[in-house]
Structure formats: C-alpha cells, structure tokens
C-alpha cells in the first residue's frame, strides 16, 4: 500500500515565519507606544512630587494661609487656597451634576427628533468653549449688567458651563452601555419607564457616571481664567463664597509664580540661596493633584458601595 504524505493541517504553512514576525513587530510597537505615553505622565508626577513634597510636609501647610508672607519669607500654608478651591468646585458640582445627569438621561432615554439633535449640538458647542470666554460671559452678565461684585460663586457659575458638557458626554456614553435587555426585563415586570431608569439603568451605570463626574471635577478644579476674571486672588482666609477676593489653588500657583525670586539666608554658617515662593508653588500644584486624586478614590469607593458584593 502506498501512502501519500499530506502535510497535516497544523504543520507550519509557508509564510508563517513572516506572520510571526508581524505579530512580534505589532507587539513591540504597542508596548513601545504605551511606554512612550507613560513618559510624560511619570515625569510630571515625579517633578511635582519631588519639588512639592517639601512644602506640603512643612509645618502649617494645611492649617495656615499666606497672609503677610512674601517671597523672602518661608512657611505659610495653603488652607485659604484649599478652602477656596473646594468651595468653588463644590458649588459648581452641586449645580452641574443634576443638570448634566438630566440632560444625559433625556438624550439617551427619551430624546428623539429635532430637540434631541439641537441639545446634542449645543453640548458639542459648550464642550469647545474656552474657559476665558465662559468667565467673560459670567462677568458680562453678573458684574457689568447687574453690577454685582466679583466673588467666588461667580467662578462656580463659569465652571458650571465647563463641567456640564464633560459630565453629559460621559454619562451619555455610560447610559448607552446599559444593555437594552435590562430595560426590557424591567418593563416586562410592569415597572414604569421612569422607575426603570432610576432603579435599573442609573445603578447599572453608576460607577461610570461617578468616573465622569470626577473627570469633570478634575477638569474644572485646575481652571485659572475664571479665577482671574471673576474673583481675584487673596492670600488671606476667606471662606465666604459670596463676598470678597478668595484664595484658590490655581490662584496660589499663579501668585507664587508671579513672585518667584531667591533670597539668601544663613544656614549652618554658610550663605545659601533659597526659593520659598517656588517651593510653595510646587506645593500648591501637588496639593491640587492630591485633592483630585482623593476625590477620585472617594468616587470609586461610593461606586463600589452601590454594587452587590460578589
């Protein structure tokens, strides 16, 4: 009996060397790109951390203000700036999140026809508005037209215009990810549509929505233009959102940056040149990053709480 040798289906086919080479090239390129993308991130974090750590670990950073402190003086704290930023961003979040959630729910669950298209278009436009323009708009309305006083709450209003589109966009994406089968399962139980949205759709999308809100907060917490236009920086404690200049972390960074300069002190019998303002600038930058990071962790915690433990 003669036997024909037929190559088995698993034997290396001609050209498979090239296929493997392509696989390796693609793998290398993807990992390389990933590392390349990490470089600026790690670099930035390292720079801010190494330069700012000294300031934020110094005495009184989280308890004192910059009252009466010049670039020639060391010390002083960032409490005034932390309070200002937290207050302004909190007011902005309280206003933005309900509006943005309702807009996103409308667009995903109810929106049909021209009104939905117009809303999407408006959100697109709002996404592209530069923060300085939002600030000038609020200034024109509240200060010029209604002759109001510059104050922290006006900053919040300008930030609202920047935050809403970010939160609408991410919430919309998250709601669209909720499978339609879940909505149908709920309807089939005789649950009305609004209750399906509140009890089924929103909880299912909750962790994503939380991430979206934190992204929105991170986006506005570092905004500087509205601060310059609408409130003015104060190195003193002022926890009143509705009156007077108020400190803020971006404001403090800018203030310290404007007063950079070295001063010579005696340390251990030698004259050394120190940069108090620069230290504080990096310290404020690090504090801002930590603040956003803490918020991120908090949001993750809340989102994981709302899940069933597996």
């Amino acid at each position: 009996m003669t036997s024909l040798t037929i190559p088995g289906p698993l034997a290396a086919a001609p050209g498979s060397g090239w296929r493997k080479a392509k696989d390796r090239i693609a793998t290398t390129v993807i990992y390389g790109s990933f590392l390349l993308a990490l470089v600026p991130l790690v670099w930035l974090l390292w720079t801010v951390l190494s330069r700012g750590l000294h300031a934020i670990t110094s005495d009184g950073w989280f308890t004192g203000s910059q009252r009466g402190i010049t670039y020639r003086d060391g010390g002083g704290g960032a409490l005034h700036a932390i309070v200002g930023t937290v207050e302004q961003v909190a007011l902005c979040t309280v206003i933005s999140v309900p509006i943005a959630l309702l807009v996103a729910i409308y667009l995903v669950e109810y929106g049909r026809g021209p009104l939905a298209r117009a809303t999407t278009f408006m959100v697109d436009i709002l996404t592209g508005i530069p923060s300085i323009v939002a600030a000038l708009f609020i200034y024109a309305v509240f200060v010029t037209s209604f002759s109001g006083q510059r104050a922290g709450w006006l900053v919040s209003l300008a930030l609202v215009m920047l935050m809403i589109p970010v939160v609408v966009r991410t919430t919309e994406e998250m709601l669209r990810l909720v499978p339609n089968e879940l909505r149908e399962a709920s309807y089939a139980l005789g649950v009305p549509k609004w209750k399906t949205i509140v009890k089924i759709v929103l909880p299912t999308a909750m962790s994503g929505i939380m991430t979206g809100i934190v992204l929105g907060v991170a986006r506005v917490a570092g905004e500087t233009a509205p601060l310059l236009v609408l409130v003015g920086y104060s190195p003193n404690d002022n926890s009143n959102l509705f009156s007077g200049p108020q400190g803020s972390l971006p404001g403090m960074i800018k203030d310290q940056f404007g007063n950079l300069g070295s001063t010579t002190i005696l340390r251990g019998g030698h004259k050394v040149s120190v940069h108090y303002a620069a230290d504080r600038m990096w310290g404020a930058a690090l504090t801002l990053i930590l603040l956003v990071m803490a918020l991120n962790l908090l949001a993750r915690l809340i989102a994981s709480r709302s899940k069933v433990s597996s």
Partner: protein
C-alpha cells in the same frame, strides 16, 4: 388566576412595514401554547404584542384586537404598565439585573411596582418563587450574592422566578432555552409543566421537539415570501400539528423539507 387570550385581526407594524399580518388565535387558560416557524416569520413579534412590549421599539404599532378574558389590552384607557404586570415575560437570553443580589432580583418586580411590602412578606414571596422556579435549593444559602454570578441555566430560572414573583396571569417565554445546555433545558421544560397548573403559558421555540414535548397546542407561523409579512399558517392541537397538519407548509416545515 390564568386568563384566556384572543387575537382578532392583528396587524403588527414596524414603522410603515407590516411585519405580521392578520393573526387570529385563541389561547385557553392554564395551557401551554408553542409558537414555531422559521426565523424572521414574526413569532417573537406576535409574542411581544401580547404584553405590549412590541411598542417599546420606536415606531412599532399594532392594529386589531387582543383580548385578555374579553378585555382589549390595546384599548384607549389601558395602561401598558398594568398589562405587563398581568402578563409576564421571560427572554431569550437570561437577563438578571447585574446590580442586584439573587434575592433582590426576585423581589425586583414587587419592590419596583411601588407596593410597600414588609420584609417578612417579601421573604415568603422570594422563597415561593424560587421554589416554583426549581432554584431554591441551589441558591438558598447565597441569596445575597449577585444574580449574575449564577450559571446560564440558573440565571434563566432566576429570571423565571423574577417573572412569577409578581404573580402574572400569563407567562410569555421567548426562546427561553436557546442559550442553554440540554440539562438546563430539561429543568426549564419540567418547570413549564408545573407552571401550567397556574399560568397560561405561551412559548416561542426553534426546537420542534421542545414544542412537541411541552405544549398542548402549537401555532405555526411562516413568511408569505421575501419582504412579505409573516402570517399564522395554522394553530391546532400539538399532536395534530406534528402528525397530520392541515396545511402543506406546516408539514413541509415539520418534516424538515424547508426552514
């Protein structure tokens, strides 16, 4: 409890497209009726009109009458939410609510229908429903775990428990076993046999043996042609449909000559 369903001259549309034309049938209470037919012939569409789930899709409309014990569920003053409370549904793919525990999945219908129930009463309903769905012994020790952590067959029985927890009078099943293995399928088929003591059951299936096993009556749907609406070819005793159908098309489909 169980109710009778009459369809009279049902025409079902997606937008302007007539998907299923001129359907008439009667389904007796406490019986199992199987809908069979080739893909795209409209059997799932007809099923979804019975609890007004069809209109959830944008542009979908229904003409004609669908009577539940003589009351037209498409009447002007009928709230679709109430129809769906009376007529439960189990879907092709198991779809437990991912954010909820096994317990909460079963209790979901009652909790979300806004009836405030005492925890102890709810416990009773959850246990009764899970027992009826043949799932109680498998999950009684982990009611607080997520429903999505169960196997596919268990998830489908969980969905059945969820559907019967609200005590509907009719249970619609849209290919409930198509995503399941033979053992889970058997469990669901046994379950259907015990559920028909209390409920009117309509089941869509692609599996003709399944239709022959579980149903008393079978409806055969077919397409009149490409781009033409689906139609109900005949509905009769399951035994007759599978041994001696009136229509040639039914015989061809049953014997595997097409479809």
């Amino acid at each position: 409890m169980a109710k009778r369903i009459d369809a009279r001259n049902l025409n079902i549309y997606y937008g302007k497209f007539l998907a299923v034309a001129d359907v008439d049938f009667t389904i007796a209470p406490r019986s199992v009726t199987a809908f069979i037919g080739p893909s795209g012939c409209g059997k799932s569409t007809v099923l979804r009109t019975i609890n007004r789930m069809h209109e959830v899709i944008a542009g979908a409309t229904v003409q004609g009458e669908l009577l539940l014990d003589g009351e037209d569920i498409y009447g002007a003053d009928v709230d679709p939410v109430n129809v769906r409370r009376t007529i439960g549904m189990v879907f092709q793919r198991p779809n437990p609510f991912p954010t909820m525990s096994i317990y909460d999945n079963v209790a979901a219908g009652l909790k979300l229908q806004s009836s405030r129930m005492k925890r102890s009463d709810l416990d009773v309903v959850v246990e009764k429903s899970l027992r009826a769905a043949n799932l109680w012994d498998e999950v009684k020790d982990r009611l607080a775990k997520p429903g999505a952590g169960l196997s596919g067959g268990q998830q489908q029985r969980l969905c059945i428990a969820r559907a019967i927890a609200v005590e509907p009078q009719v249970l619609l099943m849209d290919e409930p076993c198509s995503a399941l293995d033979p053992i889970s399928t058997l469990a669901i088929e046994d379950l259907i046999q015990s559920l028909k003591q209390k409920y009117t059951i309509v089941i869509v299936t692609h599996n003709m043996q399944q239709a022959a096993r579980v149903s008393e009556r079978t409806a055969f749907f077919n397409l009149a042609g490409v781009g033409k609406p689906g139609q109900l070819v005949e509905i009769d005793e399951t035994q007759k449909i599978f041994s001696n159908p009136t229509e040639k098309a039914t015989e061809d489909y049953i014997s595997g000559r097409f479809g």
